[in-house]
Subunit: 413 residues, 2 copies
């Protein structure tokens, strides 16, 4: 008998028909002999409906009260799903976050889970019940209702898997797994059977929005095996774990990309300690998030500094940078909001040389100029002109042969 | 500084505009120097919407899960009202039933309040907050969410008033008080300034649906002064208390009536011990509620037995009674579902003779035949032909001079 935690997002529970379909699925697993804990989100649209009510009253509603309001969304789903399970002859029991002591800090609207008391759930499972838990919510030590912020249901599922010492955390979504790249850009894109947490983090943060970053971090920290599956289609999905022996280990797992960013460069800044802080400090103070940061070695006592921000913040960031430039005595400020970022991601590149050169060579062959380059241990990102995005992604997908299933490589780890 | 508990029903919080209007009202009271606890229901229609969702899945949803579902209705209202209060510059804090430890038994969908821990609310009030509590709900000793059944918000308000030792429990409704009878039938009907718990119980149970019976019982038991007021109009409403010295004490407080009932009579039943049980036992077993029960003294070794049921249960009750009649060897069964019940209610009749004769004389003068009579200490009820209902109510209202404000009677209590 395996204990499995299954998480169903808002689309998966978006209608009563879908809730009934999930009840069917859970009951089938239970009849097969598994023990089941389901974590559910609010029915799709419900959170937005509640938010709109609050905003109609107040443009900045009290965060504590907003959590009281929003947490009703999942509470409706847990009750309906439990009713649907019981209709099928299997006992079920629903719990809100506070009822199973999902203890969080007091940061309303973006709380973090600190502790979960698994005893109550284990008692129910022993009695043959399917347990249905509200995702996205908990309570602080004074019993105030908190929410984890959007997408927090994934984190609830992972945290429950860890606390219950369950075998696997299955995240049901509207896609059937994680792909080598976006199939809308590269029709040959292939579903990955396995992936490491690190790769998933790089792919998620770069735009393949399948899982919440915080949930993957949490899973990595607590060694919780995560599986991404489709709510609507059959299949094995993508299993995300630590790097383990015998695992298929391709050089490159996938290619992520986005066109949400804009690039800003300050040229000819006097090259002395603290320059990065003086450039990025005012940007951070204006609440503008920065993604890539690139600074090359200086020349003639000056240096050039480039960073990317979300396109929505581009004009504001440009203005701030121009002020900093005059303060710092920099030569020039340049900006470009017609850029695309492409990243190749894979733990394989740790031990295999030549990934970077293949990447750069491939782009060069297509006549695509690379504007900036930034690398991490398992990722190489380049910024190119926006119009070459699809051409670049397709060329790289083909160059790394991602359309082919990798042969297993026995690892000596 | 007075501590007041104010309860707002579903119609009073039915739209965001009405929620804002209640926030205005609460803030005005607070600025005047009162301490305030608001108890609110779900926005009108919401409970029915949630019930419909559950019933679409299952005709008999699990009662525990139904409570998880339905309790979200008030939770939405407490959050929205708190947000609206804070918008007006007064701090507010919302609580679900379980958060302020409204401890109930485990009878889901019809739980009874056992205990309330007032400490948390007192702490908030000391800090100048308006406290907003979800009506209708609580939690059992294991933390399972329970609901008190329809209208339970009144009971929550009364129980909180008792637990907090507040000065008054104000129930805001869509009427501006309790009337001597239904103003749609008797345009001269007058709002009562004061009323005793007992009178309110008789009037409420007989059809003047202003307050929940359980809430009035609870208020009576804990000596909580109850005031019924309009959410939409100004006015003093009706204050409901124990009978106290110096209180206005009319002979008759009001006239209640209904046409929801049907009458069944079994004639010529052998008059021996246990006969009432043998007649009503099978009716109760069929889950049919019985209102009036009338049995006169027997004659010739047999007796006649009459009772009333809800019209919806009439045919079923008739069938059961026919079976009982043949078992018991009774002579005949008669039924009539075209009846009306009129009751005159007043604590004054305890000490004043002649109320019954005035009532019967008045009806006789109008040519209205009385089919059955039943009395309690502060009430006389008669069953008449349905078509005479309005005529009877108007004649009695006039005969007891209910359109005139009573002169104060000094009591020697």
């Amino acid at each position: 008998m395996t204990l499995i935690v299954q998480k169903f997002g808002g689309t998966s529970v978006g209608t009563l028909e879908r809730i009934e379909a999930i009840a069917d699925k859970l009951v089938a697993f239970q009849r097969r002999g598994d023990s089941l804990v389901a974590v559910v989100s609010a029915m799709s649209g419900e959170t937005n409906r509640l938010l709109a009510l609050a905003h109609e009253i107040h443009s900045q509603p009290n965060p504590r009260e907003l959590d009281v309001l929003l947490s009703t969304g999942e509470q409706v789903t847990i009750a309906l799903l439990s009713i649907a399970i019981e209709k099928r002859g299997i006992p079920a029991r629903s719990y809100t976050g506070s009822q199973v002591y999902i203890r969080t800090d007091s940061a309303h609207n973006k709380a973090r889970i600190q502790e979960i008391d698994a005893k109550r759930i284990h008692d129910d499972l022993r009695q043959g019940r399917i347990v249905v838990v509200a995702g996205f919510q908990g309570a602080d030590e004074k019993g105030n209702i908190t929410t984890l912020g959007r997408g927090g249901s994934d984190t609830t599922a992972v945290a429950l898997t860890a606390a219950l010492e369950a075998g696997e955390c299955q995240i049901y979504t509207d896609v059937d797994g994680v792909y080598t790249t976006d199939p809308r850009v590269v029709p040959e894109a292939r579903r990955l059977a396995r992936l490491t947490y690190e790769e998933m983090l790089e792919l998620a943060s770069l735009g393949a929005k399948v899982l919440q970053i915080r949930a993957v971090e949490f899973a990595s920290k607590h060694h919780v095996p995560l599986r991404v599956l489709s709510s609507f289609e059959k299949g094995e999905g993508t299993l995300i774990t630590s790097e383990v022996e015998g695992m298929e280990e391709p050089l490159i797992s996938g290619i992520a990309f986005n066109i949400d960013e804009a690039k800003l460069t300050i040229l000819g800044v006097p090259d002395k300690p603290g320059v990065a802080y003086h450039i990025l400090g005012p940007v951070a103070d204006a609440n503008i998030g920065v993604d890539m940061i690139i600074q090359n070695v200086g020349r003639d006592g000056t240096t050039d500094f480039t960073f990317t921000v979300h396109r929505n913040d581009y004009l504001k960031a440009l203005e701030i940078l121009r002020e900093s430039a005059s303060t710092l005595g920099a030569r020039e400020v340049r900006g470009d909001d017609k850029i695309a970022k492409i990243s190749v991601v894979g733990v394989g590149m740790r031990s295999h040389a030549g990934i970077a050169s293949t990447m750069f060579h491939t782009l060069a062959q297509e006549g695509i100029n690379i504007q900036t380059i930034s690398t991490s241990e398992i990722k190489i990102s380049v910024v190119i002109e926006e119009k070459y995005l699809e051409l670049g992604v397709r060329a790289l997908h083909s160059a790394f042969e991602l359309e082919k299933a990798p042969s297993r490589i026995s690892s000596s780890l």
